[in-house]
Symmetry: C2
Subunit: 110 residues, 2 copies
DNA sequence: AATATTAATCGTTAAAGTACGATTGAAAGA
DNA sequence: TCTTTCAATCGTACTTTAACGATTAATATT
């Protein structure tokens, strides 16, 4: 795009977060971490149809957006969900939901 | 990715929808259409920091995901929001919200 | 009929995304 | 110490996304 600055901050933040969810592997990682408190890279690789290096890349993407957090433990990495960030994601999505759906006409006119 | 089939349908649909929201222009288009019942391509171009051809492309992306709908009227195209589809989008996001956040630990333990 | 308007499409370029296997470096276990 | 294990990173390939200006085709306007 020509000029990022002409988009509003809210739309930019939202689009960034949506990008995190724009790949099934990343959604699955979030889902897994939501029910396991922590997982190693290896464990995640075992649950995903992707190679170790590819999973590692997806984990890095989620790390950069701070949706997950990493702790080193011996030779392994423990990944945990950043609940606050995830909550913010859903809050922002919900805000868009309300901002738009409030304008929905009562009758479907098409 | 090697094998799409090993991802679940829900994650695939969700990731597709998230892709629609992964660009600020598309979010803005949805927002605009939510408050205007219909808009021409030209009107949308005027509100976005992008060229006519680029906006047209984003409109096409949204059309393909059936989030918007197009009617021809003379030399212009009228775009309207597909409210049902948008509602489904938010429903699915909300479902992920609930499926994950229900597992949030009471105490922040990190 | 000639011109203007609108919007899709074409052609192109550049950047980002997705994937893999191979390599590396660190820590653990033998 | 030697080997194994784990996960990040490197190198590479290919695809997709995003952007623009130019062109085209259709409809309106003059």
């Amino acid at each position: 795009m020509k000029d990022n600055n002409t988009f509003h901050a809210l739309e930019l933040e939202l689009s960034q977060m949506a990008k995190c969810l724009s790949h099934p592997a990343r959604i699955q990682i979030i889902t897994i971490l939501s029910k396991h408190k922590d997982r190693t890279c290896k464990e995640l690789v075992a649950e995903l149809p992707l190679s170790q290096s590819t999973v590692s890349k997806h984990l890095n993407d989620l790390l950069e957006e701070k949706l997950i957090c990493r702790k080193f433990s011996g030779t392994q990495s423990l990944y945990t969900l950043e609940w606050n960030k995830l909550e913010r994601l859903f809050t922002i999505f919900d805000r868009l939901n309300k901002r738009t759906m409030i304008n929905r006409p009562k009758r479907n006119c098409c």
